[in-house]
């Protein structure tokens, strides 16, 4: 299937190594919950507002609260080219995808007719934005005091030529022989709440990639937990 080999990653990482990560909770004071998550050059800011009253009323669900995710790349966030401000088809779809990957852990039964809004902004992007968004949003939701069975951690894995790689950056994501698989995992059960694939690979490679992702999110989950505890450390 592939003819070339990928010997070394451009930024010198090991094939299963994540980019450097940073996480911080409570960065937006007026929000009910907020978090910042940075992985390499990709940075996501998430702010949670709510539960709050949902208007228009026809969108209300009398059985449980709903979750809305707003995904947005800032105009200057790309690599040189200005991103056109405002939503587009891609951001709308990503909002839905991110929401669906968070829904399995969140319990909004206590909030009929209400909405929880998550706004995710990217001051800087270098591939892996939906994964960074999920990781940041999970922290922000926990910070907002919502009922959650677990956090969600997410990372992209993929294939470059013959190698399985973890946490692709933009140069790898756009590699001509590259396949990109964003995966979101619920750490406590190991369940997968997001799995997408752009490209192709063999079944064996896919399972190998998923296993690599499961290993990688352990680290991300620890980072999330540490950031959350850090904000409330003073309360103990």
């Amino acid at each position: 299937m592939t003819t070339t080999t990928y010997k070394k990653r451009e930024d010198g990482r090991k094939f299963n190594e994540l980019r450097p990560v940073e996480a911080e909770v409570g960065i937006i004071k007026r929000a009910d919950g907020s978090a910042r998550f940075k992985i390499g050059k990709t940075e996501a800011l998430a702010a949670v507002y709510g539960p709050r009253e949902l208007v228009p009323r026809f969108m209300q669900n009398p059985k449980r609260g709903i979750l809305r995710v707003h995904y947005n790349m800032m105009p200057f966030s790309g690599s040189g080219n200005r991103v056109k401000p405002g939503g587009n088809r891609r951001s709308k779809e990503l909002g839905v995808v991110i929401r669906d990957s968070l829904m399995p852990v969140i319990n909004l039964n206590e909030f009929p007719n209400a909405v929880v809004d998550i706004f995710i902004e990217f001051p800087q992007t270098d591939a892996g934005t939906r994964c960074a968004a999920i990781t940041a949003a999970a922290m922000a939701l926990a910070d907002a005091g919502l009922l959650m069975t677990d956090l969600v951690s997410s990372v992209a894995v993929g294939r470059i030529a013959d190698k399985i790689v973890v946490d692709l950056d933009y140069s790898e994501d756009s590699h001509e022989e590259g396949t990109d698989i964003p995966i979101a995992i619920i750490p406590s059960t190991g369940e997968i709440s997001l799995l997408q694939m752009d490209g192709f690979m063999t079944k064996k490679q896919l399972f190998e990639a998923i296993n690599e992702a499961k290993e990688a999110v352990k680290h991300l989950n620890a980072v999330q937990m540490k950031a959350l505890k850090n904000k409330y450390k003073a309360e103990e």
């Binding site: 009910d32 919950g33 709510g50 539960p51 709050r52 009253e53 009398p62 609260g65 852990v105 319990n107 206590e110 909030f111 009929p112 007719n113 209400a114 926990a142 910070d143 907002a144 005091g145 919502l146 009922l147 959650m148 069975t149 677990d150 956090l151 619920i186 750490p187 406590s188 059960t189 999330q224 937990m225 959350l228 505890k229 409330y232 450390k233 003073a234 309360e235 103990e236």
Partner: protein
């Protein structure tokens, strides 16, 4: 490996394993999955005998029957007022619960409470669909005139009020500011002296920030004494003041559903 996995009174995050094995029971904010008890929200873990529960530290105010809150009139309808109560849901104050006055059919209700008026009110009922009913019948429940409203973390309100109103009583006593603390995290302050009002706000912010550190009352007392230059006697007099407007119980409900 069974037993407790975390230290008591530490912050735990969703999904974190609190205890393994069947030696402990999950309570508020926790859940059991297989052998483990896990945290179901962010909070401080508390162990009481065999029971593990979480004390929330963040999140919005959820209306509860029997709470005394501060609300703002946002709409006036035929039969009453809609009130914003700093929570995911707005509340309804019916005319019947608002006043003893006779009101003509179709009368202009803004004469009683107008838009943007703040009121101290009690919650009489919260339905499963989170329809909240309010009342103005009760000691100290009234419209607020003048003063200022500040917002505090609802989870810190019990510390601001103190045991049977001792903390807020002390601030009122020391500064001479009239203070009403709503369970929903809105606090009303009013005084003839602006400087004292500012000091009272400062004190409340201090309580909010240091609520978890032991010896809070003494520290606040010291702080107020230093700022006002007056000695504070901790007596029963300020506790009685609180009774005027603090009313935990309406009808039979004891207000504590959790």
């Amino acid at each position: 490996m069974s037993g407790l996995k975390i230290k008591e009174k530490t912050i735990v995050v969703p999904g974190e394993i609190l205890a393994a094995g069947m030696d402990y029971l999950p309570s508020f904010g926790t859940y059991r999955e297989g052998d483990n008890i896990r945290a179901g929200r962010l909070g401080i873990a508390q162990v009481e005998g065999k029971v593990i529960k979480l004390i929330p530290v963040s999140g919005r105010y959820l209306p509860k029957r029997g709470d005394m809150i501060i609300g703002k009139i946002i709409d006036v309808s035929m039969s009453g007022w809609r009130v914003e109560i700093n929570s995911p849901y707005s509340a309804m104050l019916m005319t019947k619960e608002a006043t003893n006055e006779f009101i003509d059919k179709g009368a202009n209700l803004t004469r009683i409470y107008n838009f943007d008026d703040y009121i101290v009110c009690g919650i009489t009922n919260v339905s499963s669909q989170k329809l909240v009913d309010l009342t103005m019948r009760g000691p100290g429940l009234r419209k607020l005139r003048g003063g200022r409203i500040i917002e505090v973390n609802t989870h810190k309100v019990p510390r601001i009020i103190g045991k049977s109103g001792s903390m807020v009583g002390m601030i009122k006593h020391a500064t001479g500011v009239n203070i009403i603390v709503g369970q929903n995290g809105l606090v009303w302050l009013n005084s003839e002296e602006p400087a004292m009002e500012v000091l009272a706000v400062e004190t409340i912010r201090k309580i909010e920030a240091e609520a978890h550190i032991a010896g809070l009352t003494d520290r606040i007392k010291e702080f107020l004494e230093k700022k006002t230059g007056k000695k504070i006697e901790l007596g029963s007099e300020q506790r009685e003041e609180r009774k005027d407007f603090e009313r935990k119980e309406f009808e039979n409900g004891n207000g504590e559903s959790q």
